[in-house]
Amino acid sequence: MTAMDEGVKYRRVTGEAVEYEVFARKTRGEPLHQVGSVVAPDDDLAAAYARATYDEERWIEMAIVRKDHFIELWRPGE
């Protein structure tokens, strides 16, 4: 099993942390697009980190999703 299969995990001071992708958009007319990622042990902290890290621009919407919740259709090189 690769790291991608189980989600990228990092050792944290207390407990395991996982990677979350951060998506946002500035207008209703545009789709959500990825603006970055954060590493956190739970959804609450990931939301707080995403807001702190990527709130410089005037987004009308921001969302996060656990990287290991992605359903991949194919990967680079496949």
Binding site: R12, V13, L45, A48, Y49, A52, T53
Partner: protein
């Protein structure tokens, strides 16, 4: 001095000190993300303090005196902020308990009958949501009991005595919650019971909303007044 102006000044002074203490951890937190969150929350709370200071004039009774330029003990911040924090546990306890206590009081102001507070403080509640999520998550990961109990004790003292100013403001409709409701709301938010705290109300200073004397350290006081900047000014421009 009105009880309401004094309370708003206390929220402002505490948020200013909370913001400064958060900022001191912007390069010392356990992860890069936590560093950034500390910096962002510090900026939020310093901004909130500016908005709150700006409410004093419309309230018609600004309790700030000239002694705020010379006497650190004239500020209305809690003992928890008197000295820089030396452990992450102190940061987390302040983030989870004290920051949320201030937010609960702001909720009481926003839901009260004072128009300027209803309008100007509402936006803070959105930003504070992320402070709360940050603090609660770190709290769940576990911290020492000592800073946590101290934060709870000071939060409950800060809410005021059962028959004090916040109870009166609640009775007048200016606050939607009195001391017991504020405490219950804080417990509800943090999903835990407060440790048993017996308030020493005879020693409670109603202006500073604390029972112990003391004040912020001289260096921090100098920084608040802009005096620390003089150390970095060119020698020829120094007074």
């Amino acid at each position: 001095m009105s009880d309401l102006s004094n309370l708003v000044l206390s929220i402002a002074d505490n948020k200013q000190m909370l913001g400064l203490r958060y900022a001191e951890w912007a390069t010392r937190a356990p992860s890069l993300e936590a560093d950034i969150a500390a910096a962002a929350m510090g900026l939020d709370d310093l901004g909130h303090s500016r908005v709150l200071y700006g409410c004093l004039d419309p309230l018609g009774d600004d309790p700030r005196g000239a002694d705020r330029e010379s006497d650190p003990a004239s500020l209305s911040a809690l003992p928890y902020f008197d000295e820089p924090w030396n452990s992450w546990g102190q940061f987390v306890a302040a983030n989870a308990v004290l920051d949320t206590a201030f937010t609960v009081m702001i909720e009481a102001c926003v839901s009260g009958n004072v128009e300027v507070l209803q309008h100007r403080l509402r936006k803070m509640l959105n930003e504070e949501r992320y402070h709360f999520m940050h603090g609660r998550s770190w709290l769940r990961s576990g911290i020492d009991a000592e800073p946590l109990n101290e934060a709870w004790r000071q939060a409950i003292e800060w809410f005021g005595p059962p028959d004090g100013d916040t109870a009166k403001l609640h009775g007048d409709g200016m606050l939607s919650m009195g001391p017991s409701e504020l405490r219950a709301r804080l417990e509800e938010q943090l999903e835990t019971r407060a440790p048993e705290v017996v308030g020493d109300w005879k020693r409670w200073d109603p202006k500073r909303r604390r029972t112990s004397p003391g004040a912020i350290d001289e260096r921090t006081f100098g920084m608040l007044r802009g005096l620390e900047e003089k150390r970095f000014a060119p020698a020829s421009k120094q007074a």
